[in-house]
Amino acid sequence: MSTATRTDAPPRGGTLGDSARRPDAGPKVQGRFSFSSDAWATNMLWGATLRSTHAHARIVAVDVSAALAINGVSCVLTADDVPGLPTYGLIDADQPVFARDVVRYVGEPIAAVAADHPETCRRALEAIRVEYEPLPALTDPLRAADPATAPIHPRGNVLRHQRIRRGDPDATGPIVVEGTYEIGMQDQAFLGLEAALAMPDDDGAGLELYVATQWLHEDRKQIAACLALDPERVRLTLGGVGGAFGAREDISLQVHCALLCLRTRRPIKMQYGREESFLGHVHRHPARIWMRHHAERDGTLVKVEAKFWLDGGAYASTSSAVLINAITHAQGPYRCEHAVVDGWALRTNNPPCGAMRGFGVVQACFAHESQMDRVAAAAGLDPVEVRLRNAMHTGDRLITGQVVDSVAPVERCIRETAEIPLPAPLAPGADPLDLPGGSGLAAEQSRVRRGVGWGVSIKNLMYSEGFDDSSTARVQLSGGIATLEFATAEVGQGFLVLAQQIARTVLGVDRVVLAPIRTYVGSAGSTSASRQTWMSGGAVDGACRIARERLFEAVGEEHGIDPIRLAIDGTDVVDTAGTLRVPVAEATNARTFTGEFEHHHRPTGELDADGQGDCHVAFAFVAHRAVVDVDLDLGLVKVVQVATAQDVGRVLNPLAALGQLEGGIAQGLGLAVMEEIVLQDGRMRNPTFTDYLLPTSLDAPEVVARFVEEPEPMAPLGAKGIGEPPCISVTPAIVAAIRAATGRDLVRVPVRPQDVCL
């Protein structure tokens, strides 16, 4: 019987280490996967948001009567209609659900409407009369840092200041190089726009929300507080998520949608258009960074000095955490004993900024890698040599005093990247599509120069500063089928397939059923900070191990074998010291083994007044080498190749991992040469895909990637998070390559054509 079962068993769907197929890929290629924007209910109404047209203004009056009079409009809500906490926020709840007396950025919500058609909603929004009394807009973060500037919020204009002092503040060396760098405002620009469907409970005192988010439980906490509801009455189910990259960590339309639902007792669907999406979610912090490096004659770093000014926009979001990430990574993946670093996250009347892939480290890395090239030039070293000479190793300390006890193969990342062959030079008479500017035919091959540049980075994994971002998972094992339940947001990164791979590996099953992702199980924390493979992977692994232990106990009892001798071999339970071999399907026939596990990472601490403390959990490293072609006269850039070797701990799914590396590189490329929200007096000039440019298939470089596999002992599966590192040091690598091609001293990203050729 057991043999028959084994013969009939389907081919294994892929265990850890395989390029297993994603369970969501089939529905996605057929258009049958349900994204949050695809949710639909009979009798539903549409919701829409009225937003401020001023960067800073007093609200004198809001008159919604004309909107209410429109046929098809069900309700209009303003600040007066928020029953609970009037504000929300991830760290500080300072962002109003609806602005009441004052608006602090263009796009701040003032009211929401529910109506029978999106077009009716639009007419209703136009009919709401808001009387503003404009106030001076504070849009320069450096002015916000000035104590003499009037506060634009009761909590002041400095969202956070933190300093780091380590070693001798007067230490110096024969080489001193400095620069001031600027990073523009990047948008996550996920394709699947914000969308949610709220369904009221029959008694009208609770609701179910289908929403695309990164963190269901945190959303629930904030929504329930604003609605003055017991969190149990706010149930969230993850709607299909069309990308996130940090932009779905904060609340956008969740509270508005829930309020409209409770008020109308009707299902409410809300979805943003692209322009509203730009206004409705947080962005990457624009930054100004001054750095001065002191080094020995041979290029060995002595001291880093830095000042960071991050523009947090009107509300706090995660600015304080982004700031700490930025300044604690100021040294890069290099040893440096002495440090004098200050950072400010500032409140302005610009759009709020928060999480985006890389979370503060992107900004720091552009500055420190630009500086490393200056050190190299001053020491007469090439960019690889200066980095190898200073490369951090396990056991070295950060400028916070924290010992880097993670596996730290910085040197290996650099060396393996350097081994990747450079691309062939442009052949004479190259196809115009291979030249900068592509089919625009602007480039002249004789005026195209090639450049090579380097970037190396360190990135913390998981949350920092004492935050316990644990994750919970449950498993049921029965009849050879494992059913997993967790609240981990699948945003495209591939956690679903990883969870299946873990269960197949640990439990010896082929079929792994995934329960809907919702708040019926404990929090998984956010899908951010490169943390889900480690945290939720660890939770699934832990839950499966518990179930397996129970299975072994049962099998051991039946066969009179000490369970400690039992193991999983393929899809069988085997006795490692005997001959017993029972298929898992048979051993779990007509009975169920369960496991639930809450996975915590080791505790972290706060930083003291001098920025000293073990505030981070673990670190990952990566090296990038970029090759670009630049048209010298027009300043057009084509990124030809990006070579990379990334410290991943262990590869759990090679295809998925490669996809993360390539995707991150494209986003870093975007920041390097094209992506920027352009603001004028706090107003976005380009909130559309015509003018906010994302890399296309003709902008994508050849990516040659190598995984550096040195399993991380602290990580449950030996694997480090891999989501963020790919997009961090590729940006400075590309800019360094443009500098190498042109000789220009480029200090801001994105690099614009006029920066290169004028």
């Binding site: 890929a25 290629v29 996967f33 003709l698």
Partner: protein
């Protein structure tokens, strides 16, 4: 207003529509065909690609009521549920899918490319999908998928 559109070989009646609705809106919100996605509303992302009278176009820029008489094919008509054609199979096998929001538009665009140009070069592939923005993959696995689909079709798959 009410009118009839020819969608995936069937006449579909659109009832009580407003005048300026796009084909994308009508497909998704009125005809129960949400497979076609929208991400920019202005023809700059390709997520809403459908084939109309034999040409791949952005359905967000097609006035639905102006599409009377046109033959419209959407992602839903590419293959029956649970069955994948060569393009779809390649996107799954080669890792061309992450969040998947761009995927239906890409599948339609690639299918259209290979129907018209069975043996495209790498540059032809890149140019043909240059209007389909993907934010997740960086296109590497997408290119791999298109090449695999091209090769599979040449070898006789559908």
């Amino acid at each position: 207003m009410s009118y009839t559109l020819r969608i995936n070989g069937e006449d579909r009646v659109v009832q009580d529509a407003t005048i300026s609705e796009s084909l994308l809106f009508v497909l998704r919100e009125r005809l129960g065909l949400p497979g076609t996605k929208g991400a920019c509303e202005q023809g700059e992302c390709g997520s809403c690609t459908v084939v109309m009278d034999g040409e791949a176009v952005c359905s967000c820029l097609v006035l639905a009521a102006g599409a009377i008489g046109a033959d419209v094919r959407t992602i839903e008509a590419v293959s029956p549920a649970g069955e994948y054609n060569a393009v779809q199979e390649a996107f799954i096998a080669e890792g061309g899918v992450q969040c998947g929001f761009c995927t239906p538009g890409l599948v339609v665009a690639v299918q259209h490319l290979l129907d018209r140009t069975p043996d495209p070069s790498d540059l032809e592939i890149k140019e043909a999908i240059s209007g389909n923005i993907c934010r997740c993959t960086g296109y590497g696995r997408v290119f791999a998928a298109v090449r695999a689909a091209r090769d599979a079709r040449r070898a006789g798959a559908t």
